[in-house]
Amino acid sequence: MRALLRRLLATVRPNKADRDLDAEVRFHLQSLADEFEAKGLDSNTARQAARRAFGGAEQMKEVYRDRRGLPLVDGALRDLRHTARLLLRSPGFTLTVVATIALAIGANAAVFLLLDQVVLRQLPVAQPSDLVIVSAPPLPGETGRGLLMGKNSSSDGHMTLGVSYPLYQTLQKRIPLFQDVLAHHAIRPTLLAGTTPMLADAELVTGNYFDMLGIKAALGRTLRPDDDRAPVGSAVAVLAHGFWQRQFGGDPSVLDRTIRVNNYPLTIVGVAAPGFSGTGGGRGPDLFVPLTMGNQVAPIRGFDRLSEAVASLEAIARLAPGVSREQAEKYLRGVYETLFDEALGRITKTFDVARYKASFPVSLFPGGYGSSAQSAVTRELKRTLQLLMAMVALVLLIAAGNVTNLLVARGAARARDTAIRLAIGADRWRLLRERLVESLALALLAGIASLFVTVWVVRLLPLVLPFGDRAAGLTLTPDRRVVVFILLVSVATGLYLWLTSAWQVTRRASLPLLYAGATRQAGAARPLRLRRGLVVIQVALSLGLLCASALLARSLYNLVTVDPGFKVEGLSAFSVQQSGAGDTAERRTLLLRELLDNVRGLPGVQAASLTSTLPFTGSSGGSWASIPGVAKKISYEVYLVGPDYFGTIGMPLIAGRDFSGQDVPGAEKVAVVNEALVSALFGDNKAIGQIVSCEEDMPADTRIVGITKDAKAGPRADARPTIYLPSFQRPGSATMNVVARMTGGDTLSAGSVRSVLKRLDPSVVSSEPRAVGDYIAEGLLRDRMLATLSAFFAVLALVLTGIGLFGLTSFAVARRAHEIGVRLALGAARRSIVWLVVREVAMLTLIGGAIGLAVYVSASRTVGSFLFGLSATDPPTVAAATIVLAAVALSAGFIPVWRATHLDPALTLRTE
C-alpha cells in the first residue's frame, strides 16, 4: 500500500524523484572515479573509466523511470491532459454535453434525495436492521364495550395491527427470539411550556425505549424502565433534541421544569440525543412520556389504556442475534395460537376477532427504516417516489442518448485523425482509453454541475407542491449520501457513454477513409445505424413518459373537479383543542358556543359552525347503526357538527331541517343522515322521524330530522353511509374545527381568531385559519406531485428527443449535401428532397412510437394504480400524447429539411 502511494507520488512529482536519481548516479560515478584516480589514472581517464564501469546511465534511468511510475496512471494523466485540451478547444460542445447530463443527473439526485429521506434511510438507532414491527390481532377478551384498535396501512400496503398493553407484556416476556420489545403510541396533546399553549406531538413509550434503540441523553437522562411502572408511572418527560432547540432555544435550565401536557403536570428530566426523531419518518415527536402515564396525559373516555380493550400500541422488537425475521415470525405465530386458545378458554362470549386472525395473521415487518412506520409522509410518498425515480431515470437514459449522438458525430468528424493514428500503428486500447477518459471526464464534470441543479430543484419543490406540514422534518439539502449517489450515477453515465460511443469510433475500417475525397462520407453506415437506434429508443422512452404524465395530469384534473357536495370556495376553517384534564363536557360546550358567537361577529364572516372532521378530507371514523326490530347493522361514518352546519358549508338538505342551537343535552336526541344511510337502513321507506340506534348494542333513541344528498367522503372515497350528530348535544371530541363562510374570497384572519380565543380562554390551542380548499389540495399532494414532476420529466424527455432527432437529421443532410446538390442541379423537385429527409424522421418516429406504445401498455399497470377516473390506457389521452410526440418529431426535422431544400447546387458542385 505504502509502495503504491510512493509510486503515485513519484508519478505526480516526477521532478523530485529524477533529481534524486541523478544525485545518486553522480555520487556513484564520482566514487568510482576517485578509486580509479587512487590507482594512478589522471582525472579525465578516471572519469571515463568510471562511466564505462557504470554502463549506460541514460538507458538505466529510462528503465528506472518506467519502473518507478505507475504506467496506467501515467497514461491516464496524459489522456486527461489530452482530454482537457480537446474539451477546451470546443467549449460549445463541452457545455452542451455537460449541461444536458447535469440537468438529467440533477433531476435524478433531487428525486433520490426525497426517496432517500422518506424511504431508504435507516433510522439513526443502534443496529436498525435487527428491528421488526410486530403486528398481531387482539386476543379475545371479556370487554364490555368492544375494542379500540389501532390499524395502520403502511407504505408497502400491508396492515399492521396495534397490540394491547397486556399483549405487549406477554411478547416481552415469552418470546426468547426477541432480545427486547418496546412499545410506543403517538398522541397529540396540548402542551403548556410557557405562556402560550400549543399542540405537541408526543410519544407514549415504554421504559426500555431509549435503551433498546441505543439513544443516549444529550442533557439530563432518558426514560428508564422504572419510570414506566404499571399502573401509574413517573410524571416525567424527555424532550426531543429538535424540539428543545426550537422551543427552548437549547436552554439547559429546562431540566426539572414542569410542563403541562393536556393540563397534566410533568417534569422534564432530560433531552434525547440530537438526530433522533422517533421511529417514524418525518419530523417525529416533540417529547416522550412513559407509557404508563397514558391514562393521565391522554385519557380515553371509558377505556383504560393499559387494558386489553385498547390495542393501539405499535410494538417494535429487536431480534436476538442470529435470528431471522422469518424464524421469529414462525415462532411467534405458534405462541400466538397458544395465547389465543388460552384466552378463548377464559371467556364465555363468542368473539368476533377470529375474523381478524384470518385476514391479518401475526406478522413481523422490517422496522429499521423510516418508511416502516406508518407516518403520513412515508405512506403517501413511498410508491409515488419510486415511480418518479423510475421516470427520471428514463430521462437520464434519453439525455445520455443525445450525448452519445454528439460524441459519435464528433468522432466521425475526427475519423480521419483516428484512421491515420490506427494506420500508423497506434494501439487500439490506447484510443479506447482516450475515449474512456473523455467520457468519464464529461460525466464527472456534469456530476459536479448537477449538485447545483439538485440544490435548485429541491429548493423549488416546496414552491410547486403543497407539502404543507409534511415537509417538516425532511432536510431538503443534499448530504453525503446524495453526493455519493451523484458520483455513482456520473461514473455509470460515463461508462455508458463510452460503451455506446467509443466502440463505433475506433472500430471503423481505417484505410478507406484515407483515400482522397472520402471525407464527405465521414459518417460511415455503422455509426449512423447506432445513432438511429439511439433515437428510436429515445422516441420510445419519451412517448412512454408522455403517456404516463398525460394520464397523471388528467387524473389530477379528475380529482380536482370531483364535486365535494358542498361549496368549497369562501370556506375557511381552523381547529381548536381544549386541554383535556379537569374540563367538564358542559364547560367545553359553553366555550365552543361562545367561540362560535364571537366568530360569527368577526368582519367578513357570513355564517359559522363546528365539525369534528372537515368534510371531504377522508374518513372520520364511526360506529354501527341499527333500527329497532331489524337485526341488520350498518357501519357508518360519524360527524359531530354544530348548529347551522349544512347551511354554513353549503351542503343541500333534501328533506328535514338543519341543526339548531336548541339541540342540546336534555332535548330529544336528533341526527341528520345522508341518502346512502337511508337506503342502507330503510330501503325506500321514509326516514324522517324514524328512531335509530347510533351505537352497537345500545337502545335506539335518536330521531332522524334531516337527510342530505350523498357527498363523496374524499376525492377518491365514495359516499359512505353517514350520520351527523349535534356536537352540543353529544360533546365527545376534544378537537373541533370551526368552519366559517366568508364574503368574497377572503380567508378568516388569523389575528382576529387569536384575539377572540385569548379573550375567551387562553389555554385553548388553535391552528391557523386556512381555506378549506387548501386542506383538500394538501390531501392531493401525491397526485399533484406525480402530475407536476412527471409533466416536467416528460417535457424534458420530449425536448431531449427533439434535439436528438434534430441532430441526427442535420447530420444526415450534411452528409448527403453533395447528393442533394446534384439532385437539385439535375432538376429534382423540392418536394422529393423534402420527402428524402422527412422519410427518415418519420420512419424513426414510427418505429420508436410503436415500440414506446407497446412498452407503455405492458407497464401501464404501475401507472394505473395511481390514476383516478380513467384507465391506464385511456385511448384519447394516449392518442393525444402520440400526436404531441409526432409534432415534436416533425418540427425537429423542419430546419434540416429547410436547409436541404435551400442548398445552392452551384456551390455544392463547385466543391467537387
Binding site: A3, R7, A23, V25, H28, S31, F54, M60, D66, R67
Partner: protein, 116 residues
C-alpha cells in the same frame, strides 16, 4: 514483463538475493558500496554494469524489503543509504531456501544426464 533491467547473463532474482545478502552482512550501504562489494565477492566472475544495480534497488524498495535514506558517505559526500527492513530480513531466508532448492534441482538434472 519488465524489460532488460538485469544483465542477460544474470539469472532473474539472483541480483536481488546478492543485494539483500550484502546488506545483511554489511549493514546500511550506498549503491557504490554495494556494487563494489558484490563485484569483489564475485571475484571477476560477474561482469556487471554497475548502473544495473539501481533498478534492482528500486524494485526491492517497492517490494518493501529495503528502505533508503539520504546520509553522508565516508568521504563526506551526500549519498543514499539502503538498509534491510524486517520484511527484507524474512525475505532473505525465503530466497535462500528457494535458491537452495533450485540449485539442488539443477544439480540432480545435471547428474542424471551425466549418468544417462
Amino acid at each position: 514483463m519488465s524489460k532488460g533491467e538485469t544483465n542477460p547473463g544474470l539469472l532473474q532474482g539472483t541480483l536481488d538475493l546478492m543485494v539483500l545478502r550484502t546488506l545483511q552482512t554489511l549493514g546500511p550501504q550506498h549503491g557504490f558500496g554495494l556494487a563494489k562489494r558484490i563485484l569483489q565477492i564475485s571475484d571477476g566472475l560477474l561482469d556487471l554494469n554497475q548502473g544495473t544495480l539501481y533498478p534492482a534497488l528500486l524494485r526491492l524498495e517497492q517490494r518493501g524489503w529495503i528502505r533508503a535514506r539520504w546520509g553522508t558517505s565516508e568521504n563526506n559526500r551526500r549519498a543514499r543509504f539502503y538498509e534491510l527492513t524486517r520484511a527484507g530480513r524474512r525475505q532473505i531466508d525465503a530466497e535462500e531456501r528457494d535458491w537452495a532448492r533450485t540449485v539442488g534441482l539443477m544439480r540432480r538434472f545435471l547428474r542424471s544426464s551425466e549418468e544417462g
